[in-house]
Amino acid sequence: MSTTATRTVAAPEFVPPAAAAPGIAVNAEKLSIRFGEGEGATVALADIDLTVGRGDFVSLIGPSGCGKTTLLRAIADLVQPTSGTLRVNGMTPDQARLARAYGYVFQAPALLPWRTVARNIMLPLEIMGMARARRRAEAAQYLDLVGLRDFARKFPWQLSGGMQQRVSIARALSFKPSLLLMDEPFGALDEITRDGLNLHLHDLWARTGLTGVFVTHSIPEAVFLSTHIMVMSARPGRVVEVIESTLPRRRRLEDRETPEFLALSRRVRDALHLGYGHV
């Protein structure tokens, strides 16, 4: 069973500068990924259809082993699809990667311990050949954005886990990609820190008009952040349902107690149970 996501275009006041024209950021058709060959092969993803519009925030949620991380990695050209087509900003994932079209946030901060926080944020800019003075200015700006201006000269291991993950988000945004891919970025953090970062990320997204693809295990997180929630089932990874959010575009943490939010959570949970039924 596969579902094609059809969607409405994002609200006009949030049209991002990077994608002035409404369009499609990520498009997958009949995407399948197998690891290994012959009898020992595992099918990570089977016939996935997915469309992410510009300015959308799509969460991928599902049981462990449903291939949500693999899907994200395929979009980032870190894994190669076995069959089907995949387009990122209208390009192949490889071309999109070489065009530095997306920023990627990993499960762990993956900051280089020998660089200060500021120089970690400058790392992609350095690789992309930006001049030193501009690099500095950009890094300072993004440190401000994630509220870590005072920590520029600290080393990553001198920061708490939540701060480290904020640095890694700033690093992913520093070269102004139009697409932000996040793989359970807050999975290892405690609930309170996680709430704070969710709000932070939501504000960032709403202010910049980014497109987000977000992998998570947490239903409230997915519902709070997303315009669309893609629920997946495991072995092989398939799409159970794509739920379009009925919440307003701007949200506050308190909204999580509204009946609307709870109803949406309920829908996601039901779809997840359906996915577990496949196993």
Partner: protein
Amino acid sequence: MTATAASGTAAGGAAAATSSGAARAAQRGGAQWIMAALAMLFCTLARINLDSFGGIPWIMGGVGLVLLVAAMALFARGESRADRLASPILFGLMVIWLWEMLVVGLHVPFVILPPPSKIVEAIIGNLPILWIDFQQTYLHSVLAGYAIGCGAGFLMALAIDRSPFLQRGLTPMGQLISAMPIIGVAPIMVMWFGFGWPSKAAVVVLMTVFPMLVNTRAGLASSEAMERDLMRTYAAGYWQTLLRLRLPAAMPMIFNALKLNSTLALIGAVVAEFFGTPTRGMGFRISTEAARMNLDIVWATITVAAVAGSVSFAAIAAVERLVTFWHPSLRSGEKA
């Protein structure tokens, strides 16, 4: 990875011990310092009077020894920097003092073991010879061989970096050769390069090149998959990834090899000189003077070798702390 985990546990254990350690340290008052001072006094008096008052110096020495051990035990309870330094220093002094007392007091023949006082005399009396030997062995053989060996090992590791085929072929060879008694090539090197220092440097090169190759390879492979993925998402090229990620990540392993090699280089140069050398060099001095039973000069030379070895090691370790300050085993001021 294992080493990191182990040091982490050790640190945890130390932290747990601190609270009770501090309590015990508080009970000491200043007793440990008084005891240490008294112990030194007694031990010194015992040595000075060793030849005059029959059994009395031995009794004084016994009292001194008991006080010394007690002071060491008290210092071992503390956690301060002085406490951590005092125990090993006192232990070193105790070994030297026991050596001196027993050798002099029991009239151990000079050819078996000279007392430390005679070794110090020999060092002072033979400074010019020791300096010439040091120049020959350390400043020529060791430094040249070490630089060439480490440099070549590093460059080889880089050269095979892009060829998994060569890596799979050369890495096991390097590991195997590292475990072999390479020192045995010394006579062959003397035959090839003559009696002068180049033959010793050649032995040093052969001893140091493979540990460096193996460690650099392991270091270059030590960056994490996630970090390499990160560089890939930036569309970073081979050289950018090497320079910005893999080489810095390899530094702890490279420094391990540099430290190991500093000891190996000195051993190689000294032992290679046993096989024939112009009439200077630390290995030459040790083997010829040992054969002539001039053990004080032998010990003096060994002292110079030991000091040279530990000073080189300490110097490399100091540079290591500057370069790999970020490594979990060296971090200070963990959280902001």
